[in-house]
Amino acid sequence: MRIKDGTDGGIINRVNRFVDSEHLVPAVFLVLSFFAWQFSGFSGAFVFNQVLTRFIRDGVLVLSLIIPVVAGMGLNFAITVGAMAIQTALLLVINFQVEGATGILSVIFLGVLLSVALGFAIGCVLNRVKGKEMITTIIIGFLFNSIYQLIFLVGFGTFIPVFNQEIILSRGIGVRNTVDLGMYRNTIDKLWLLKIGAWEFPIFMILVVLFFAAGIYYLLNTRFGHEVKAIGSNNEKAEVSGINVNMIRIKVIILSTVLAAFGQLFYLQNIGMFDVYTAHLNADVISCAALLAGGASIKSAKIRHGILGIFLFHTLFIVSPQAGQNLFNNAALGEYFRSFVAYGTIAFALIINIKNENK
């Protein structure tokens, strides 16, 4: 479709540059969310506060996807494994009834330890399926989900001793579906809360997410980052120039998994209720769709794509059920629209990218 840019006319060039999916996809999302917002009848302040909450809730999860994309490994659907790692740590700490700051620190310590180990394992697996990383990460995510269920639904109370009876089902085996995180709820969200009229800015958490973003930006500009970019653009060339491709790829996945673990921690503390078996399930699809909505592709992703994407995607996500209710008198239609947008964005990006690659 693209006309080769030449000397003839700047307009075509400008149109071409705009038609690029990097701009087209965010533009479509912008238009869609604007109209959905209009039909939903929500006030601007409400939507803004909600989106900002989603930004601090899902921000780090989305950012955790960027490095694997830069390394040419595509969307890492196995970030759910990182999420499960931190949830495992959380459940263990709650089980041993460690409270307060020690509790949170031990959750982070255990969670990071677990995610490094799991990330290493996933990295090794992915090194054996080069070119098919994405489908493999999906399957890995599902597989770990069943192992996770096995541990907490069957293992707890049979192999693992239970110290905290509150989290166990009445039959004595298995963890309850929801565990209250009362003691951790919104502890850091409300820090430095700035209110201007109806608009709320949780400054501290925004800074935390931006800190993670800056960290990834910095990392991509170090020597390690340049090596990651090199293997992302050409595997063989990078190998010839003396980069240990397999090792870098493993490090990339470890980083992504650890970041996802932090992301899930922020997510859980923001929500305050911990759905043991479902909290992590859609983390991968929602985050991937948000990243792609910001204009990333499966070949290139930048921090700004992630940040822009969260705002665009979640605006649509928040307003569409109400818009569906107002337009068709049926909230379910808005709900379907939401899942269609999430899956459809990924499907669209995959088809367009792979098609261009095959040419």
Binding site: R128, V129, Y343
Partner: protein
Amino acid sequence: MKNYLKNYKIQTPQIIISFFLIALICLAFILDMDLVVLLNESLIKLVMNGILVLSLIPMINAGAGMNFGLPVGIIGGLIGLCLAVNFRITGLFGFVMSLLFSLVICLFLGWIYGLILNKVKGREEIAGTFIGFSFIPLMNYFWTLVPFQNREMLYPIGGQGLRPKISLENYFSNVLDDMWLLQVGSLEIPVGLFAFYGLVCIFIYLFFQTKVGRATIAVGENEAFSKLSGLDISRIRLIAIIISTVIAGFGICVYSQSYGFIQLYDEPLSMAFPAISAVLIGGSTGKKAYIFEAVLGTYLLQTMYLLTIPIANEILIPELTEILRTFITYGIILYALLIKDRRGNKQ
């Protein structure tokens, strides 16, 4: 086929599953369960899920990989079923009509699906997964807005939108299961059901004997060589994908008549993975698949699931069945992905 059976090698996953199965049978024996009833049920389960598994074969052999986009064909079949129920066609004739409706719809869906997959050659699996995933919420609109008239399929309140679970009791539930039942002692063999299963197997077998079928296998084995010898690869892949989609539509028709309900909305979301794992358990590598593998794999898996349900209930953790099921499903798919690529690298 004969040649193939001689060369058939039993691989690690099959050994593990077989041992597991034997252990389960022993356990069932110890727990004093009625093994004949279980055997009867296992035969029905084989066909109930078997046709969905068979539907994977043409696509795998055409080199289009494991069909993670199975929901596309399943939805085609579901529309066919809903049409038959909407027109209140009952009995065997109703079932045949639902097959015909789904044939027409799946031809169309498969054609579009095939055109898309031809654009993403080599990465069909990931693309197919998300085509299937995104097709489901799109079809949820259809189920909600379609102007069907039969009150038995609509939500009782409001009268708009299909129910998530439509009973086939007054239409054609179990028509194939109960057709030509053969009693051998206390064992019941559903001959009609097996006849239908056999027909689909023979159809696939005959397809691979035709010129197009042979070309399909050639494309799957060596695309570059087939291109040089003048085969129209896109067209051959398209035919294989359409056939896969049509058989998947038939598969869900048979599944629903055995189950007794049409399940709509998000139900097809996770149906692709168990079917794929079945053909892999049967010994396929995901690059080539035989009818024998699909049948064997389905039987092993379904019998195992059947046995785990009462045993899990016996030890008071009913969730264990479902967890084990997903664990085996995804474990075997991951194993196949790893193995396949190791072989690919050696070449």
